[in-house]
């Protein structure tokens, strides 16, 4: 297992190396630079000075190696848009906000989705099933989360005045973003839970258990739910980094000072160090979650063997 994990993480590192090269090349291939959008064009001498200061006058491969060398020393550079801080500081400041909102969203949507999915599957073809399935799945897929957020703001903040419309500071600020954000993953989770629970409910071994006279409760908890939750790990695993890196749209709608805004501003302003740092964070998170969900899959389902893992 350790060897397998080592191999997977080594591959991840290689992939990330290639990815950063691609992004680095792409950023510099675009015409225009980070300091071309000042209000007045800079005099050539000042421009040359700035370029030299940030090491932008060196050849591209040299710049990449410099960046990589600094990265290996834990230095992500200085953001062009705010030279008084470091990229690390900027991310350390913004990411916790995204993580808090994302973490609560994961909790709410997964637990809510599981409950909705299980209840509607165990009450298959009753009015509860029909109501839950149609309402949750429709609400989750009908509108993008920022539109739901906008509707929530209109109703609960503007019209009723119960909750803040946006910003960050008090615990109440979390509520609306989480509702808007959680609806879609919750619908997804409920749909898959319902499908996989139904599949197990009508399987032969459950019917066999019933025939042998096992109690309904024992069948449900021991035999149906345990098996039916297996596929959810692979389905929802890749969703976690998506939520944790924050929806740019949700953060823009609710004016949250999280990581999402930097994805837009950094690339609009050609803030090379910040773009690279964001790509790194996202890629590392995605890669790790993919690997962990593969591993988790084998832990809960002994029928699955990892490719390349000797027994």
């Amino acid at each position: 297992m350790l060897a397998y994990l080592g191999q997977r993480f080594l591959t991840l590192l290689l992939v990330m190396l290639v990815l950063t090269m691609v992004i680095f090349g792409l950023m510099h291939a675009v015409p225009g630079g980070p300091f071309n959008m000042t209000q007045q064009p800079l005099p050539p001498a000042a421009m040359a000075n700035i370029m030299r200061k940030y090491g932008l006058s060196e050849p591209l491969w040299r710049q990449y190696l410099n960046w990589l060398w600094a990265l290996l020393h834990g230095d992500l550079g200085i953001p062009f848009e705010d030279p008084t801080t470091t990229v690390t500081g900027l991310i350390a400041h913004a990411w916790p906000i995204t993580l808090i909102v994302g973490g609560i969203t994961i909790g709410v949507s997964y637990i809510g989705g599981l409950i909705v999915g299980c209840v509607s599957a165990l009450r298959h073809n009753t009015w509860i099933d029909w109501l839950l399935t149609s309402v949750v799945s429709t609400a989750g897929v009908a509108l993008p989360n920022y539109v739901i957020g906008f509707l929530l703001i209109t109703v609960f903040a503007v019209k009723l005045g119960w909750l803040p419309a946006g910003g960050w500071g008090s615990p109440a600020d979390v509520i609306l973003p989480v509702i808007a954000f959680a609806l879609y993953p919750m619908a997804l989770m409920a749909r898959y839970t319902r499908a996989s629970t139904l599949e197990v409910t009508y399987s032969d071994y459950v019917r066999m258990g019933r025939a042998r006279g096992l109690s309904n409760r024992r069948i449900t908890t021991r035999y149906i739910l345990r098996t039916s939750l297996i596929p959810l790990i692979t389905i929802m695993g890749p969703n976690i980094p998506n939520i944790l890196t924050g929806s740019i749209f949700i953060e823009a709608t609710f004016a949250l000072p999280g990581l999402g805004q930097y994805f837009t501003t950094a690339s609009l302003r050609r803030d090379y160090p910040l773009i690279m740092a964001l790509v790194l964070v996202v890629a590392a998170l995605w890669g790790t979650c993919y690997i962990l969900s593969d591993v988790a899959y084998t832990l809960v389902d002994p029928r699955v063997r990892l490719e390349g893992l000797s027994q």
Partner: protein, 294 residues
């Protein structure tokens, strides 16, 4: 000799047409999917014939009637520049559908050949494209598209292009899985044993068997793309004025909520209708074309 070869194409044609017949039968039985499909087609038709159907020109402003509310002249009212809302919604349909169809189309054009080649040939081709999948899935599609759009600038064409470029991995994965599942089936071996050229097997024999899930995936991508495209417009990175777009209309209408709710509500209703009809139609198509999947 001829007596043996003649019946073969006949049965083949009958079987393939009966597949589409059965699919159509299954689709028709699903009332929700049928209604959604009709609405989805209507949305497309309205987009195509927008200049004929819209009561005004999409850029015609009438500042004296700005945010005027519904009237006989403007059935659904006007926006902050006095542009007819119904007209804007119809042209917004055209823009949104251009992106929603165009981007997955580009994704399919890039992704399907890659997936087909790597699934069919395996080995080194497969290895290379699997590594490419890994690199491209490391950064989520929306973020990658966002990065490209912010770097290269926005606009309708670029929006379609960048959303399309970043959508290819899904199509490639699907095609690869399909071809791996099909390449060792008996009918493929039989065709190979009979000396049918590889290219002919790949596209005449295997492709019709793989095309169902591809169509389903394509249709399922449409609502997702509507979301993303509207999101970019919402952030100000999508379509630029004077082109109408639903996401941009929401963004504009947000500021005039207190005066006229309709300005923001109309595009929201349009987005909800479009995404729901395309996703229900997509679900129906999946059940009809790909009955083994859940």
């Amino acid at each position: 000799m001829t007596a043996v070869t003649v019946p073969a194409p006949v049965t083949e044609r009958r079987s393939s047409s009966s597949f589409w017949h059965a699919a159509w039968y299954r689709y028709r039985r699903n009332k929700l999917a049928l209604v959604s499909g009709v609405i989805a087609v209507l949305i497309l038709v309205v987009g195509i014939f927008a200049p004929i159907l819209a009561p005004y020109s999409d850029a015609a402003t009438d500042l004296t009637a700005a945010l005027a509310g519904p009237s006989a002249h403007h059935l659904l009212g006007t926006d902050q520049l006095g542009r007819d809302l119904l007209t804007r919604a119809i042209y917004g349909d055209r823009t949104s559908m251009t992106v929603a169809i165009g981007a997955p189309l580009i994704g399919a054009i890039i992704g399907l050949p890659v997936g087909i080649l790597s699934g069919w040939f395996g080995g080194k081709t497969d290895f290379v494209s699997l590594r490419a999948f890994e690199v491209f899935t490391m950064v989520p599609q929306i973020l990658m598209a966002l990065l490209l759009i912010s770097l290269f600038g926005s606009g309708l064409g670029k929006l379609v292009l960048f959303l399309g470029i970043t959508a290819w991995v899904g199509f490639a994965r699907l095609a690869r899985a399909q071809y791996i599942a099909l390449r060792d089936r008996d009918f493929v071996r039989a065709a190979r044993a009979l000396g049918v050229p590889t290219r002919r097997i790949m596209f005449i024999h295997v492709l019709p068997n793989a095309v169902g899930p591809m169509i389903v995936y394509f249709v399922q991508q449409i609502p997702a793309t509507i979301f993303t495209a509207a999101g970019f417009s919402f952030l100000g990175l999508g379509v630029q004025d004077p082109l109408a777009d639903w996401g941009k209309m929401i963004n504009d209408g947000e500021q005039y909520l207190q005066i006229d709710l309709m300005v923001a509500l109309l595009p929201i209703i349009c987005i909800a209708f479009a995404t729901l009809s395309f996703s229900f139609a997509g679900d129906g198509l999946r059940d009809a074309l790909d009955p083994t999947s859940r």
